[in-house]
């Protein structure tokens, strides 16, 4: 029971990470209509910049700032240099150009930091754990990650529903032409949204850096899960990204934690282990296939 609760929290923590990545991606997707496979690169940039600065300075908070700044800047540069030319292209060109960006980012990171993973230490405040329920001490840092993720969710909700920028974003997600017709500085809006998306991805990277190993290719693994979240949630819907992110994060974590054990009761150990890991890795993709079969545009599709 305690184990279950702990895994649920782990799932929640993974879920908010997915949400941080998916929120930016779904906005970029929904508003600019561009598929950005390289969104995971901003996650990696944030993690590397954060980890490196925090190792150099010994300050987690310095690293956090550096990670946010680096990912936002890289995001804006990518938007100005590459993405801007892709908005009018078809999905195929977008997939390929951003696939090329992945190669470029990964290899550049290898050139700068090498192939060895970076390890960061936690700041003093977060190094301990809190006993949430009797018998379950849970790492403070993971709770902090969950809190940050939820805070961003609330912040985005307010931004989108209560501000003028948010109004444009909502209008843009459902009707691009209309926003153009409103005479808004579209270029500026696009750059800002792209930068915000990159910043959120970088935040996710910094938050993940003490938990997962910071290494080249870390963005590639999580970006596929992020795409699944975006598509299940419905392209352009931040609400969908939140719901799908949390649900998928939890399901994925639970499957990985418990499925191999369950299978071991039915078949020999090593094979059960391999099969369990395999099936749990398939889990989110299976969910996406099922959701799309019932709702071809995702759960909370913004466009009609």
């Amino acid at each position: 029971m305690i184990l279950l609760f702990e895994q649920l929290l782990n799932g929640l923590q993974y879920g908010v990470t997915l949400f941080l990545l998916a929120a930016g991606l779904t906005l970029i997707f929904g508003i600019m209509g561009v598929i950005n496979l390289a969104h995971g690169a901003f996650y990696m940039v944030g993690a590397f910049a954060g980890a490196w600065v925090s190792i150099q300075t010994g300050s987690f908070w310095g690293g956090l700032l550096a990670g946010l700044a680096a990912s936002a800047i890289v995001g804006i540069v990518v938007e100005l240099g590459v993405m801007r030319r892709l908005y009018a292209r078809d999905h195929l060109d977008q997939v390929l150009a951003t696939f090329a960006l992945i190669l470029i980012f990964n290899q550049s990171t290898v050139l700068i930091f090498g192939r060895q993973p970076l390890f960061t230490s936690l700041p003093e405040v977060f190094s301990g754990s809190i006993e949430i329920i009797p018998g379950l001490p849970y790492p403070t840092f993971r709770l902090f990650v969950i809190a940050v993720g939820l805070a961003v969710a609330v912040g985005l909700y307010l931004l989108i529903n209560k501000t003028r920028i948010g109004m444009l974003v909502r209008a843009g997600a459902s009707n691009r032409q209309m926003v153009r017709a409103l005479g808004v500085n579209i270029q500026g809006l696009y750059t800002a949204i792209f930068g915000l998306g990159a910043l959120l991805a970088g935040l996710a990277g910094v938050m993940a850096s003490p938990i997962v190993s910071v290494q080249v290719g870390m963005g590639d693994e999580i970006i596929l899960a992020t795409f699944v979240v975006v598509v299940i949630g419905g392209v352009g819907s931040v609400k969908g990204a939140f719901v799908a992110g949390i649900v998928l994060g939890m399901c994925d974590t639970m499957l990985r934690a418990f499925l191999p054990g369950l299978l071991q009761q039915a078949m020999p150990g090593p094979e059960a282990q391999a099969l369990g890991v395999g099936i749990s890795s398939m889990g989110i993709y299976l969910m996406m296939a099922l959701v799309l079969l019932v709702r071809p545009r995702g759960l909370f599709a913004a466009q009609g």
Binding site: L275, G278, S281, M288, P296
Partner: protein, 323 residues
Amino acid sequence: MKREHIILAAVFVVLALVPFAAELTGQASWTRLVGQALIYGMAAASLNFILGYGGMVSFGHAAFFGIGGYVVGIMYHHFDAGTAFLGLIPGTDQMLITLPAAILIAGLAAALVGAMSLRTGGVQFIMITLAFAQMFFFLFISLKTYGGEDGIMVRRTNSLPGLNMRDKATLYWVVLGLAAAYYLFLRRLVQSSFGQIIAGIRQNERRMAAMGISTYRYKLYAFVLSGMGAGLAGALMVNFLRFASPDMMHWSRSGELMIMVILGGVGTLAGPFIGAGVLFTLETTLARYTEHWMLPVGIILLLVVMTSKGGLMALLRRLGGKG
């Protein structure tokens, strides 16, 4: 028309001479490299049929490539061990059985994936094909019997009656023959009645429906044909490299196949082969000089996508038209 035939024949002759050239110059790796490029070219060409001619952007095509490969690997595994697949089907190392089996199984897998994926469109189609490919990828990783992550070694290339398939050059010529046959098949396919319907669907699906065409059925048939081609290519690749692994269906492999198509020229017959040749040569050449070969490949790819329309085929045509 005539000119096209001459060019095709000339290219075929040059390719057929590769093993001799390799022997004369002492560059034994040429045969291997060109053979692999031809096989990737087949896989890319099969993708191009749905992507370029049919407008279906599948991001999971490597799955069928890998499945075709695994059919050869699994049949060899059972042949070698003297066991039977699921206790029913005995293994074999006969290419006349393994290749059709690979084509058939890949086609079945494509029918399954296509039947579900084609209910969506646009971004959702791209992502759901990717999702199915990932499922196959993890499925094969979890099959410990067939090597799990490590894949299956095929110690000997499948045999063909009357040929010494252990000879590298013979195997190469078999690959070349099949690649040429596949090229001619695709050439016929895009000119056929079915090919016309598919081209119509790419341009305007609603119009085709208004002409009484149940577009779903046609797209599914195209998807299956395309998956079969990728299965054939995968089966050849496993024979060529004597190794089948889950890496064959990794999502970045699907991306690479798309790159080959774009690089060569979407919706052209020769484009995917040219794209495969160029990308594969680029990768192997750069890899010889630097371990960071992915960086220049990425930059070149980005430049090609950003600046050119129609890939290398368009470039060749422009040069050919002027010269």
